[in-house]
Symmetry: C2
Amino acid sequence: MSNTSINDNEVDIVIAAINSDLEPFMNEWRPVFSQFHLIIVKDPDMNGELHIPEGFNVDVFTKSDIDRVVGSSTSILFSGYSCRYFGYLVSRKKYIISIDDDCIPARDTNGDLVDVVAQHIANLQAPATPFFFNTLYDPYRKGADFVRGYPFSLRSGVTCALSCGLWLNLADYDAPTQALKPEQRNSRYVDAVMTVPVRSLMPVSGINIAFNREVVGPALFPALRLAGEGKLRWETVEDIWSGMCVKVICDHLGLGVKSGIPYVWRRERGDAIESLKKEWEGVKLMEEVVPFFQSVRLPQTAVTAEDCVVDMAKSVKEQLGKVDPMFARAADAMGDWVKLWKSVGSSSPGF
Amino acid sequence: MSNTSINDNEVDIVIAAINSDLEPFMNEWRPVFSQFHLIIVKDPDMNGELHIPEGFNVDVFTKSDIDRVVGSSTSILFSGYSCRYFGYLVSRKKYIISIDDDCIPARDTNGDLVDVVAQHIANLQAPATPFFFNTLYDPYRKGADFVRGYPFSLRSGVTCALSCGLWLNLADYDAPTQALKPEQRNSRYVDAVMTVPVRSLMPVSGINIAFNREVVGPALFPALRLAGEGKLRWETVEDIWSGMCVKVICDHLGLGVKSGIPYVWRRERGDAIESLKKEWEGVKLMEEVVPFFQSVRLPQTAVTAEDCVVDMAKSVKEQLGKVDPMFARAADAMGDWVKLWKSVGSSSPGF
């Protein structure tokens, strides 16, 4: 599928355990995950015992670990889908891959199992090309290249910081779309990955994602929490918010973001009609959020992801804080996240 | 393949005849083209008699037509690949589709013949979404939609003005790439079409293209001609230059540009090594051209494609004219093109 050479020691796979029985999930992923180190973070709201099958190199973190490391002096909540971010915090690896626990491996058009790890790492290791659009998609892929007219000075590309994968079967639609088209399933396998151009915003989904933790780790955080946030993806926007931040930060730092392959197969879960009321808040918020992120500019003094998050948090507070207190809380959480990232990052690994 | 309803009277298919024997080309395209009106423009440099098979609704234009309509009081040259633009000028239809005469119909992953006309018209009739990236590609396509986090206020999209198709087998690489990888063939059929985001520049290829003539016709013109321009695609940049202009103009006017399906199958032609010397000039030029188009801004008073081309020509002359006389000539040709478009457009059709 790809000619990537992966150093197993450079990869952490982070799983947020929203469901207690991870056995079916992990058995499905065994051929892909078993050679890598896994970080499983149990949703602190969940009471049941986690079921994890044998044969994995795995560290499990629970509420007591979170309390011990993070303490209570922070505005960050790690409940629900946000628990995965605790895994991002304690990882010491170069690359992190994170897949929702309602997804199983997809198959490509040849019927072969998609190796999400290999493809995400290939996306992150090959340069990104945010400054000019290549019509034949990823120019570094085998059999592809830059097309006529592509400036030679831009052909070396930039570091890719974030790889956003896609979903077959149940796609990542919001609750209104899901409720309106309950039978809709995504069956189109688009065999492509591309760089999302600079200054183009996108809805980053946390369902199937990978990133270079050393470069952009501090910019992936659980900051925006809806009042009615639940345990279904379409009831959350924390990944969308963080995704806007990380895209603006990558644009500022001259890093790339890719979207496309690898796919996962996403299983049905939840009742969209029930979620509609909760989701509506998130839907409305986007109308405020998008113009903000389209216009926000980071200062030249911001040269690391940490710097950028701190500056972004200030702008969020100043410009969006008055629109809704939820944004002011998000700004606080972003500031706290950077402090946490620095303090946990400088402590010894493996607590 | 698509549920587009096409009014046959709204479509002109424009073919630049670089080769005199169009029989194999047109017989291959018969199932796709035969219901539409064709405009064939014979390269004025070509001496031989055109061979066109029976059974098409076709108007052929030659050097004498060009001389009669355009006259000699213009800086525009219609020779070689640029002859197709004469067809754009004399068309009176809403949509124009243009395919190079070394291409034949492609087959999709199911082995079905790709209907370029249906797909290009579908691309042009469905809205474009340049202001926010949809990770599942064209949200209007059957089985797709806008993903979670996509702002509802942007889901109605904007008019799509330009549809850029792709190529299987011999892709549109420049001569250096072609010479470096003589065996490289594109065999990846990516079943997607997407809007190229606003302010993202791209290399528009004239090989397989369609556009809304009423909206953006004046912005597709033969203006930049290399000193050593020849009769091979990789020896030309007229489409790349015009493509930069039309993308900036679409961004300014709030129109969309799409890239992706439909594919054509492009046959081998020409010797890349022989072309290398000629092409090198075009390759160098891009390094000047891209920063210009990335920074050029059109005034608010420019509200039509004609206005935009006139203003763009001024900027080209001012900012690039001193870099190379080729750019000054291109600026003159753009001004002349708009005059021609207005005068030919206001004359009676069917000369």
